[in-house]
Symmetry: C2
Subunit: 135 residues, 2 copies
Amino acid sequence: MKPTMTDSDDVLKANGEFYRAFSEGDCDAMAAIWAETASVTCIHPGWRLILGREKVLASWRDILASPPAIVCQAVQVIHHGDAAVVLCEEIIEEARLVATNIFVLEAGAWLLVHHQASPMASTIGRQEGPSHKLH
Amino acid sequence: MKPTMTDSDDVLKANGEFYRAFSEGDCDAMAAIWAETASVTCIHPGWRLILGREKVLASWRDILASPPAIVCQAVQVIHHGDAAVVLCEEIIEEARLVATNIFVLEAGAWLLVHHQASPMASTIGRQEGPSHKLH
């Protein structure tokens, strides 16, 4: 008997496709993963908010010109109504980041509407903890 | 004629209440702004993901013991289906951060289900730009 695909499986698949496009520098796949109709927003590490599909995709074209080796791990999917929030860690060379990726359904496909990634302080041996006093 | 309250006004009000509780170190108000039923998650600057209402509120109790002077600005609200995503900048003393706050409706009130804040590089005179080569 075939296992049943659930919404979470589909969201995980979309999230995996985002990181595949990212690590392989695949601009066409990256463009296809971002929503066409909904407003899209992106916060790269250290950047300001980027608002709008054209500007977001332009930022990715610059980044994907030299794609980093990136591994996505510790993935969690949480459904909030008809939006799906993926929380995950990104290992980029020696850096560890934590990301929020928000997906919505458009024409039956889970597409990305928001991405924020930010560096984690060195947390070896700690489950969580502040890097500084910002909060 | 009274102006009509829209969903976005209500979300902005909830977001404002979050930052009021934050800057005033008001633990009771902070607890009240986080969803009761939905899964809640939080990523403080430099921290790992915190998952679950009890752990998230415990992290806020620690932070609110010494609340910082915080100003929220450049606020955008985007509705994605049942979820409302607030993007904003946080000015904490001399640091500038950018935040994603996700709200959902519970019993008629917009409550917080996810918060991620991360530092922006110095961006004076630039609209956006990378701080480093992470992405």
